[in-house]
Symmetry: C2
Subunit: 344 residues, 2 copies
DNA sequence: TTTAGCACTCTCTTGTTTAGAGTGCTAAAA
DNA sequence: TTTTAGCACTCTAAACAAGAGAGTGCTAAA
């Protein structure tokens, strides 16, 4: 079967646009009227029939209008992916907000989630930039009460870990500080993994501390990498396809449980390049729960140092043009911010 | 008008129970059948009429059953507040989960939110324990790149703040460490407020650092006190009164925006004692947006040192018995945990 | 190749009817 | 005096029917 004609592409595009707007199947007559097309509804009907045959459109029932299929959206998005850009004024407005706030990752994440949600009228999600290699910049041991010691770890990249541990016997603050100093020396410029594996020759206190730090780092790697900032949930729950339906509840549960989300984000983070935008439509056969949804994702950060993922989750009929360009822009903006404030 | 008779109280209680179960107005006949009452439906009808007159019940329309009013719930909850307790087995099960996980506030918050949501079948919210007086336990200055310096502040209580600042001229790590040491000396056992106000005689670097720290602490006090852990949103969105309705969307927005929530939580935190449970029904005239909801709240922590708030938000017909006992138990459990792990 | 025309098929809305649940009142029973 | 059986009445929600409207595919003419 041959390529689509320009006119067919136009009609497909218009149907997608109209369906995004109204959320109801779009018919030939309405389309011609709405967009002042230079052809009759009969012509549109013929093209629609052809598009339906090719699997880009679908009829809910015999006498209803057409609705785009997943295939239809994929085709549309494929053409869209490398062209649209956010208006300059919007870009400046957004940047401004970021450069006005404090240099605080947490706030940036919230702000980013908020901007994404607002621009796309959908739900947004973003993970904080996560360092690729675990290197300890600085470690501090603080005696608190009895044998309790607070370990504070500053990673290269600026992340901070803390952990409260109980020693087997009391140790003075002076000794603790000295121990911390020695460990700091060892960590200088090395991956923490290496420090950990060469710990066997050290005194037992040092060894213990290094083990605790290691545990903490890995702990956060697995668990609190689950820290996903969300926003705009209310946006999608007021869409008709989610509002009162079982699908809506399922989607809400996905957002809340975060394990599936985590799954999707990390999988994208794995084999995706920086700055590029990925679009998952209808779960792509892998995630049954996302049947009704589409996700627009991008990885951001500084290659080799730290990276995170951000994206938008919405109904399949979301406004892809706007969403994709917003995601792309936010990705590059955050990459800039991260590279400017990386602690080395 | 006299007190309610025992029988009226019984009927009111049963209606509340039945309405919580079915979410539909409950009629005299059904009530007698369901609970095998030793009286006829006509008697129940008479009592219902009386309860309606007193404002504890309400009829959606002439030939419908009765629905509890806010007043009805208040009366019911007032009687309930000081008696119910979570089953021992449940208490042990929950404690076990907490003592099994790491001593990590973030995880505790997540776990607490999850437990509350599960037990109450509603939405839960909880804020991390926040120290009452700001006292700095330890401060650290770490040189990163050029004139950038990372300030790490460990508060009494265990909170950690970090902030990246840019000095006006480069300072060596050794000098930074010395400065940090001097400030640490000053902070020993004092409220940071006092350190701040007596800073004028210090060298300019010290003064700058103290100002930055002060800013950071206040910043977190106002903004990131907004860190509210939520769970169970899906629970309430699948309740019939929220599912497809405008009220549902409004409630969702409340949970997402958090400013109103913040408002409610802090206001409770102000004039509420520790361990006690507060129940807000239908916004209590103050919060129009919560018309359909009820909130069960408690303050937890260690008086004078650190405290947070936890609670459950659900439909007004929520199961108060279970919710109140869960909230009370969680409040005391978390208080214990906080007091055990406070950094002094 | 496009389009006007038309018969046909669905759904959605609207109006009507009906069954059922629930009420309040009255009068008899306890 | 309190409870209950009986009954007329009210209102909702479900069921059904009818008609309007939107949309389609096909055919034949432009």
């Amino acid at each position: 079967m041959e390529e689509l004609t320009e006119r067919q592409k136009l009609i497909l595009t218009l149907i997608i646009h109209e369906y995004a707007r109204t959320a109801t199947p779009v018919g030939s007559k309405g389309l011609v009227d709405q967009y002042r097309l230079e052809m009759s509804s009969a012509t549109v009907r013929n093209e629609m029939a052809s598009l339906t045959e090719r699997g880009y459109l679908r009829q809910p029932h015999t006498s209803a209008g057409r609705v785009p299929t997943e295939e239809g959206y994929r085709f549309f998005v494929g053409r869209l992916l490398h062209q649209t850009d956010l208006p300059d004024s919007t870009q400046r407005m957004i940047s401004h907000q970021f450069y006005q706030t404090r240099r605080d990752v947490e706030q940036w994440m919230r702000l980013a989630a908020s901007v994404l949600a607002h621009q796309s009228h959908a739900a947004s999600m973003i993970t904080a930039p996560h360092p690729e290699r675990a290197r300890v910049k600085h470690i501090e041991l603080i005696s608190t009460r009895g044998r309790q010691v607070l370990i504070v770890v500053v990673m290269v990249g600026g992340e901070i870990h803390q952990r409260l541990v109980t020693l087997s016997e009391p140790v003075s603050q002076a000794q603790l500080s000295a121990t911390a100093d020695r460990i700091n020396q060892l960590c200088q410029g090395k991956d923490f993994e290496d420090v950990y594996s060469s710990r066997s020759t050290l005194p037992s206190l040092e060894q213990d501390v290094i083990s605790w730090v290691k545990e903490e780092i890995e702990h956060k790697d697995t668990l609190a990498a689950g820290e996903i900032y969300l926003d705009g949930i209310a946006n999608i729950m007021s869409q008709p396809e989610f509002s009162g339906t079982e699908d809506g509840r399922r989607t809400l549960r996905i957002l809340e449980e975060r394990s599936l989300l985590q799954n999707v984000l990390t999988r994208t983070l794995m084999h995706s390049s920086f700055g590029g935008v990925e679009v998952l439509i209808g779960g792509e056969g892998t995630w049954e729960e996302l049947r009704q949804c589409a996700i627009v994702l991008s990885r951001y950060g500084v290659p080799g140092l730290a990276s995170g993922t951000l994206g938008v989750l919405g109904p399949m009929r979301m406004s892809y043009g706007r969403t994709i360009s917003t995601v792309r822009f936010m990705s590059s903006l955050l990459s800039d911010l991260v590279s400017e404030t990386l602690v080395e």
